[in-house]
Symmetry: C2
Subunit: 334 residues, 2 copies
């Protein structure tokens, strides 16, 4: 039985308004949307006089330090949470180790992933939102809190990172209207976008060099594979965050419909990131292999050696390419 | 005496309204803003029943073919223009060969370059506009023409290309408001942005892989070198245009102040692209080696073998880094 209740923006705001000692959780391997959402909501709740704190299993990467310039993350109030809010967390598996214990007592989840597994008591879900921050902004307004520069900076961060700087297909008119309002609130977008999209660590660049050597095509150049091994990570001295954006590379190649990045997790374990252009639903394909996600970006984990993993992915994709070929009326030879 | 008269959006619209047999000119080596501006204005004038055509000295690159899907560029009406409009052309030198003859009889120039040399009889100039398309949109509205999907697609193209997909410092709230309106008009932004910013040829990616292997640092990681050899170009099967953007890579590395790309032109000949972040004037340094350019992006050509060329560049940069160190009050050891 689905015990999760869908709520509106107004209802979500009312739930938050009624609570105190609120714990806000972000997903593991935090990105700009989960952190932007979390900090924006935190600052809004604090401005209402609530006691609240934010937690993320993997901590807040240095890259996002500007989100909490005026907030001391190392001295957050300690309390037994009366209410737990999860932002941008699609499934309990994404809480990560240190916050997993809260996953069965989430009062409110605010999210935009269509695959949300409805683990929370109340769910504010909008799969059409480009980022969870789009919903957070509405909730903050419903709470009667002014979007000041600090909150606007958090919201902009989620918006720009989850849309690849307004480039992805999830961008709508609403996304740009919100961006306009955030710039009007004083957000200095340029250094944020430069930091998020242009700056690379030397380790990242070295990793990229090694990863590009693994580039391999299949299905007549319509599928491209990249591999990130543990060995490469070590050689480059790369951190987890240095792999950001690498999964986007294979889909950028002219003619490629499906780009897959396999990141080694153990000797026979690979985390798969699949990006598709327009014809193939990545979420469906990854679903066949026990994963999920969005239509254009999904993932799964495969326990196999590298060549087996690639073969499994090709097998899962073969009927999809055949269907595309049939629709396009051309001969498919898979 | 300045014979150029500044006009408002309303005045510009009135000038166009009063004319017929209008020739619209774009600048040479056309980009998305000049072409997006030109085609948007063309379609607006045609919808008013005017006779008009568009010209660009270098033609319209294949990449921008979607701007004129329903308009036959090869069979434009021939007429002796009664009125010449220049869009996004800052100076007469930028007309290019085949349209240079019109440069002294431009009735109206619509532009956003602060350096506009005021060569036209009337000038609608807005240096705060992120793209000339921002002004074109206002003129089209003032003409009473509805922004249909075709016009909106042209305007979006100018907006996104002149802002690096909403990333550059020229983006304002207005830019995002206009983008929102254009998406509401039905623009399918994703394939446009993908084509303009994301798509890389397999040859380009292979070239990038080889080039990254040459990455070398100096001055404690504050200078980064990349090298593109003729051999690499051949191995990758890369065209000249596949090198676009590679010169931007070294400066993107965290901690790097000066990024230098050396592109081999002959056995002992290298074209140098220098990009700097904020402390060192690239134009001054390249000037020492017989080149020039802007403060943040400059170039020169060095006739020497690779290691000599690097040494010459380091010698030219050493006093600059020493000056930075002195200013920062830290010990410079070059």
């Amino acid at each position: 039985m689905d015990r999760c209740k869908d709520v509106s923006v107004q209802q979500a705001a009312a739930l938050l308004q009624a609570q105190n000692h609120i714990l806000i959780l972000c997903h593991q391997k935090p990105d700009g949307d989960t952190l932007g959402s979390g900090f924006a909501l935190l600052y809004a709740l604090l401005s209402l006089g609530k006691t609240a704190r934010i937690e993320c299993s993997d901590g807040v990467p240095q890259k996002f330090a500007y989100l909490h310039t005026d907030y001391d993350l190392t001295h957050q109030p300690e309390f037994e949470p009366e209410y737990v809010v999860a932002v941008d967390i699609a499934d309990v598996q994404l809480f990560g180790e240190s916050t997993a214990r809260y996953s069965d007592r989430v009062g409110l989840c605010i999210d935009h992933h269509p695959s949300n597994s409805r683990y929370a008591a109340h769910l504010l879900l909008d799969p059409k939102a480009a980022g969870t921050v789009e919903k957070i902004e509405e909730v903050i307004r419903a709470l009667g809190v002014t979007i000041d520069l600090r909150i606007a900076t958090c919201l902009y961060t989620g918006l720009t990172t989850d849309t690849g700087c307004f480039r992805y297909s999830n961008v709508t008119a609403r996304t740009h209207y919100l961006a306009a309002q955030l710039l009007e609130a004083g957000v200095d977008h340029f250094p944020i976008d430069k930091l998020m999209f242009e700056t690379k660590t030397p380790a990242r660049l070295d990793l990229e060099r090694q990863v590009l050597e693994t580039l391999e095509y299949a299905f007549e150049g319509r599928l491209a594979f990249l591999v990130i091994t543990q060995q490469m990570m070590e050689t480059a001295g790369a951190l987890e965050e240095d792999t950001d954006g690498i999964a986007a590379i294979p889909r950028q190649i002219a003619g490629v419909e499906v780009g897959i990045t396999l990141k080694q997790k153990g000797e026979r374990s690979y985390r798969v990131s699949m990006r598709t252009n327009q014809q193939i639903n990545a979420s469906v394909v990854c679903g066949k292999l026990g994963g999920g996600g969005h239509a254009r970006a999904a993932g799964c984990t495969i326990q196999a050696d590298l060549e087996q993993a690639k073969a499994m992915l090709q097998n899962a994709l073969a009927p999809e390419f055949a269907r595309c070929d049939a629709q396009a009326g051309r001969k498919g030879d898979g």
